[in-house]
Subunit: 295 residues, 2 copies
């Protein structure tokens, strides 16, 4: 398990914005992250039910190049969160404003591309600890600042779909449900993953890449039975280019992941965009809410 | 009436993008506008029903600073258009890339701020003919390129809410329904409208401003009975600052607009953003579709 020695303290939050939407409030907060060593922003949607009682939380992890804004502005998720009475929390995709040499050269590495791993290599390892940030610091910050039930789940898109799968698989029991839109399902076998893991974790031979690959992690998963819902558009150019490889995850589950119940849903002609996400985020939130709200 | 001497010819369209969303396709086209003298972009959402039959059209006019992208990416309207089987068409908010002296100095005048009027003043009158563009050239382009029933309506936000009201009031019978989110309802009495009308139309004394003000136009409307649905958030800072003045439109209708049935719906604590629009666009599209789909 990847438990941190001690949970980082919950941060003091600064509210940057609040917009009423579907009867609740979409807010953006910033805080000083001790895990990442920089100021981070994240979104929280509080549905109208939040006025009356603590609620479960769904975490959303975004994909390459995204900040906290894309999901908030384009997914339309607030409508469904309001319908089902769940809080949505979505962090940024990497540390920001550190000016580490090389962090902004490529759109698929560094800023906007933290890949939700804990980097072990210089110059990244001091700050690029997105796995610890998401699963520990952000969690404790949410739990200490908001009224939550403790029931939580995770979902994400593309790089964030990879992140959601890896978080759920590496921390059994922490998330009651996991789903992913067009996830990078087998990063050690695709160009995006190989580039990111080489940089953050070092060469394949010595970098323990398999510890951060959903198609490897499912095979040794031994936590509570875990349903995984994976969604993939057939018109997605990154799928066609072999960056996503959801079929490898399916095969891996068949090969020996007895505790995993994987469903891969193919969506005819949908692409990789937020238009696609917006079309099915309601389906995902409904699935999560059913599990999160179960007594 | 503001009929053009001859309808401008429908333009040849270039499809810039197509994304599947809610079973249909969100597309963006560009064309050479002879009315505006520049290349223009507009969005069209084709719901899944479009595969089988011609459909009615709802035109959407956006507000200050917007391009064709904001509504497409942030309103969530596609879901409701798919539900009700209507096409959505949304043009840009001004001519673009003309580099007219002064057209990009202010965010509330010139580029992104055409105000849906036909300018009479130099240097704007050659190109800033947004009323003619929306109601004639865009209409003929839509009618000639897509399978439409001929039933159409119009809605908009802020400056585009003003635009929707003025289009419906100046061209009786052209639109079967009109609604507006936080419209500039009485532009001759607010700073935004006074600035824009001064620039595009000349001084109040000689510029025929009342011909472009919904609160004036309702009083002399004599077309078919026209229901107007106006939506306003009570937390909208521009409302509080007196830029929108929907109450003036209510008073004007009571004063002597027998053919107008105005409903003003106040939305508690909602602001001026697309979060607000996304919360109620479903209500608006349902109202329009009921009228557009009536036999």
């Amino acid at each position: 398990m990847h438990r941190m020695a001690a949970l980082p303290p919950a941060s003091v939050l600064t509210q940057l914005s609040a917009n009423k939407v579907f009867g609740g409030y979409q807010k953006i907060f910033s805080h000083e992250s001790s895990v990442l060593g920089c100021t981070m922003k994240f979104g929280v949607y509080f549905p109208p039910q939040y006025e009356d009682k603590p609620l479960p939380v769904i975490f959303w992890l975004s994909g390459l190049t995204c900040s906290e804004a894309n999901f908030i502005e384009k997914s339309g998720a607030q409508r469904y969160a309001a319908e089902h009475g769940v809080i949505l929390v979505n962090p940024d995709t990497s540390p920001r404003n550190l000016n580490i040499d090389g962090d902004s050269k490529d759109w698929d590495f560094g800023v906007g591309a933290g890949f939700y791993v804990n980097a072990t290599q210089e110059p990244w390892k001091t700050n690029y600890q997105m796995f610890n940030y998401v699963n520990y610091e952000l969690h404790s910050t949410v739990a200490d600042n908001f009224q939550v039930t403790g029931a939580q789940s995770i979902m994400g898109h593309s790089m964030g779909g990879h992140g959601a799968l890896v978080c759920a698989l590496k921390l059994p029991g922490l998330y009651k449900a996991v789903s992913a839109f067009a996830p990078i399902s087998n990063p050690i076998n695709c160009p995006w993953g190989q580039k990111a893991f080489s940089g953050y974790l070092g060469p394949m031979e010595t970098g323990n890449w398999e510890e951060w690959d959903a198609s490897k992690l499912v095979k040794k998963y031994n936590g509570p039975p875990l349903p995984i819902f994976v969604d993939q558009g057939t018109g997605d150019k990154f799928y066609k280019e072999g960056q996503l490889l959801p079929e490898n995850l399916v095969v891996a589950c068949k090969d020996g992941a007895n505790l995993i119940n994987l469903v891969l849903e193919m969506r005819d002609s949908y692409d990789h965009s937020y238009y696609y996400i917006s079309s099915f985020i309601g389906d995902h939130i409904k699935r999560h809410a059913t599990i999160l709200n179960a007594k």
